[in-house]
């Protein structure tokens, strides 16, 4: 795809002798939501870690046409990629507001004005009114759902072109999961490109435009999200083939 914002080709990631991702190729078109679904242990988190430069990998990764494999995570953040990691990785001993301000660290260092950041902050508050109420609270004292909102909010403060989400539904009650995924749909409508990694297959496919199924480190299926939603093989992947 030539209009792809993110393009991964033949990516391999190994931990010592163990190859966790084997020859994965995928792309995220500009302004679209792509999802990678797959059971636990399939290598989804490893895949995102490698794309975001947190893990060493082999293969080509292109962002907006430029090769980014081998670049530092910090450089990718400056280029407009933001990851919401599976473990959230919030600054627990800092306030909600400070967490959000730090989300704009790369932009501030690049010389953007305080006013520009204040605008983004208002946008994040509009998206998550709960975060506005919780501003002075320490991030470590938030509930699971609020932490997820803060993690997404912090990522959005960087005004990314591409948002990478790792299992946003993990450990959250179904209602909160639905809220978070609705938010992702909303973000997609604003033109943000999203790569969503999910174990909750149905919810992910309902949110995304295009889907990939990852199984033990390899892509086993791909297609339009609506088609995958009714694919028998997707159900088999999750519930066993017998």
């Amino acid at each position: 795809m030539s209009d792809a914002l993110l393009e991964v080709s033949d990516l391999h990631v190994a931990y010592g002798q163990v190859e966790a991702v084997r020859g994965v190729s995928l792309s995220v078109p500009a302004g679209k939501i792509a999802t990678v679904i797959g059971p636990n242990g399939a290598g989804k988190t490893t895949l995102l870690g490698a794309i975001m430069g947190l893990l060493p990998s082999h293969g080509a990764i292109r962002f907006a046409g430029d090769r980014i494999d081998g670049k530092d995570t910090e450089a990718l953040v400056r280029m407009g990629m933001s990851l919401v990691p599976e473990k959230r990785e919030l600054f627990a001993e800092m306030t909600v507001l400070e967490n959000l301000e730090l989300g704009g660290f790369a932009r501030r260092r690049a010389g953007e004005s305080r006013a520009a950041l204040a605008n983004t902050l208002e946008e994040v508050f509009a998206l998550f009114p709960r975060m506005k109420e919780r501003q002075p609270q320490l991030a470590g004292t938030l509930s699971g759902g609020e932490r997820q909102m803060l993690a997404v909010g912090r990522a959005l403060m960087g005004k990314p072109k591409l948002l990478l989400l790792d299992e946003p539904s993990l450990g959250l009650a179904p209602l909160i999961t639905r809220d978070i995924l609705l938010t992702i749909t909303k973000l997609g409508e604003t033109g943000l490109s999203v790569l969503l990694i999910e174990q909750n297959a149905r919810a992910a496919l309902q949110t995304a435009d295009y889907g990939y199924v990852l199984e033990t480190g390899e892509l086993s299926l791909e297609g339009k999200a609506v088609d995958l939603l009714h694919d028998e093989r997707v159900i088999a992947t999750y519930l066993g083939k017998r």
């Binding site: 947190l54 953040v77 933001s82 990691p85 473990k87 990785e89 730090l102 660290f105 501030r108």
Partner: protein, 342 residues
Amino acid sequence: MDFSIAALLTQDGLTNGAIYCLLALALVLVFAVTRVIFIPQGEFVAFTVLTLASFEQNKLPGTVWLLIALAATVLLAEIVAYRKEPGRMLRAMAASALPCVIAAAIVWAVFAMQAGFALQVAATVIAVTSMGPAIYRLAYQPVATAPVLTLLIVSVAVHFVLTGLGLLFFGAEGARTSAFTGSTFALGSMNVSGQSLLVYAFTVGLVVAMALFFKYTLFGKALRATAANRTGARLVGISPNFAGSLSVTLAAAIGALSGLLIGPITTVYYDSGFLIGLKGFVGAIVGGLASYPIAAGGAIFVGLVEAFSSFWASAYKEVIVFTLILPVLLWRSFTTTHHEEE
């Protein structure tokens, strides 16, 4: 012991304790951000005193050569590291070697112009502070992800190198700097020296400045963020090397300011920094290398123990201060819950 002696010892203890307190805060900062137990902290103190003393004796401070040696080594390291990327090489050189070069020029200029005391002090602080980025770059950056234990051994090696360089560039003779003030004030029945008051005021001011820095500035918050969650910090674009270099540079600056305070009180030799720094450490360990206020309190306590033991058993002063660490560790081992490392 009567009241006046007790008051005098307390005043002494608080003065030294205040200086240990600054060092303890620097140690906690560096450990929180980089996991490095920063043994060479005391060397910054010694280098400051020796640099300022050289100025006062109208000698060109050996600091100039020390800075040039550091800068040359950093340049070499950057050439090796970025031999294929000239652009990044220049940027890296600017960040880690340039401060040393500029500082060396400033020290030389201040010496050559026979500038006054204030400029000498400023040049000294700049010189010592600018060693921070170079030391971080050379010793710690290449092993930044290594286990705490490896980083600790690196720290001890850096202490070795700096002590040796101290001997090489400053010589074996000790030095003392002239007091900022000689006045004393009567407070009821006891005399309080102006120098002590200056130390207290300066320490309080610096602690407040640090608190404001961490609470309100972008870089301060970035350091706290790195300490709180390294991966999280990387994900918002804070490079661990940037944070590490910044924290060591701040530690160098705090070391320099502590050196200004301790210079008029004690004779300092090229290798005195180690013991001074370690006393800050005993304080930092009281705070588990994590809590700033407890570390500060612990350091002041160390100062007081030192002052009182120098009265009762002066020969055993160091023994008492360093043995103090054992009950402290025992207490910590009962209060901290065991958790898996790394």
